[in-house]
């Protein structure tokens, strides 16, 4: 039988792991996508709307 403090500790540990996992995933995903966009940009590939100064129209 675990002590009550152990259950409290386990709960906060799981919460920390889940929140840290979410934050790392969102930050990592964002960085990877930014890298891809920069690589495409460096290769001279741009969105058509970015070339036309008028706006985002399709």
């Amino acid at each position: 039988m675990m002590s009550h403090a152990a259950y409290v500790f386990a709960s906060y540990a799981v919460a920390l792991a889940v929140v840290a996992g979410l934050v790392l995933w969102v930050v990592g995903d964002g960085r990877a996508r930014q890298r891809e966009l920069k690589a495409l940009n460096a290769a001279g590939i741009r969105r058509r709307s970015a070339e036309a100064p008028i706006g985002e129209g399709k």
Binding site: V14, A15, D29, G30, L40, P53
Partner: protein, 256 residues
């Protein structure tokens, strides 16, 4: 495009993804800072306030369990509103919002289930019972996983958007079932003690850390959600740019 034209004046201006990205860049640092601040205060209160005379120290589990359970339902509500945005108003960011929210909702539902079990073992004497509240939240968790699988299964976001929007709306029936399950059925889970007619019934000693933690979790959700939406917009841009490259390559190889 001039800086001025990127300013957001109406809610409908958010429909422009470029404007949304500009707003996200401006808002995210503040939201993140506010989240950290509220978590610092919430965690401080969680560990400095008194234990309960019956639950003892385990009452502190409630300060993460209740906010994550609240988020699990709020996140689904955000997804249901986004689904309406996709189907009714054809808002271009609605699908991005629903898709970005699903993994976040699944994570907080998982957290609510695990912390609930960790409280249930010392207090109820069991990790799990198949009562109405626990089962309906478990079903919510499965629905999040199903929606994530569906979003990944279909290549074209425009097609998967409508299908998953319909599914999200059908699944929304589960939210009132979760909320009122403790009143409609005889459950081991206690009935509502914070959001109820007639005001909260819990002692201010526990209400304060609970409220601050609930605000901290809600701020965390919106920070993560906006950042995940930004990632999703970037992901779609990368996909469309790569498609554009492939099309151009095809055209060049066909030319004599």
């Amino acid at each position: 495009m001039s800086e001025n034209s990127l300013a957001i004046r109406k809610f409908s201006d958010l429909a422009n993804p470029t404007r949304f990205l500009a707003l996200a860049d401006r808002v995210l640092p503040w939201l993140a800072a506010l989240t950290v601040l509220f978590f610092a205060a919430g965690l401080w209160l969680s560990f400095t306030t008194e234990g309960d005379y019956q639950q003892g120290e385990t009452v502190r589990i409630m300060y993460v369990h209740v906010p994550s359970a609240w988020l699990s339902m709020m996140c689904y509500t955000v997804m249901a509103i986004s689904a309406l945005g996709t189907l009714v108003w054809r808002h271009p960011l609605a699908d991005v919002s629903a898709k970005a929210a699903a993994p976040i909702g699944a994570s907080f539902t998982f957290l609510a289930l695990v912390t609930g079990s960790l409280w249930g073992k010392p207090m109820w004497g069991t990790w799990w019972v198949w009562d109405a509240r626990l089962t309906s939240v478990f079903v919510l968790f499965l629905m999040y996983l199903g929606l994530m699988a569906l979003n990944r299964a279909m290549e074209d976001p425009a097609r998967s958007a409508r299908v998953s929007a319909v599914l999200v709306l059908v699944g929304f029936v589960n939210i009132p079932i979760i909320k009122f399950s403790v009143e409609w059925w005889n459950t081991l889970h206690q009935p509502a003690s914070v959001m109820r007619l007639g005001g909260p019934t819990i002692d201010p000693e526990f209400l304060w850390p609970l409220m601050i933690m609930a605000i901290a979790f809600t701020l965390l959700f919106f920070t993560l959600h906006i950042a995940a939406m930004r990632n999703e917009i970037w992901r779609r841009r990368v996909t469309s740019l790569r498609r554009q490259v492939a099309r151009n390559a095809g055209r060049e190889s066909l030319a004599p």
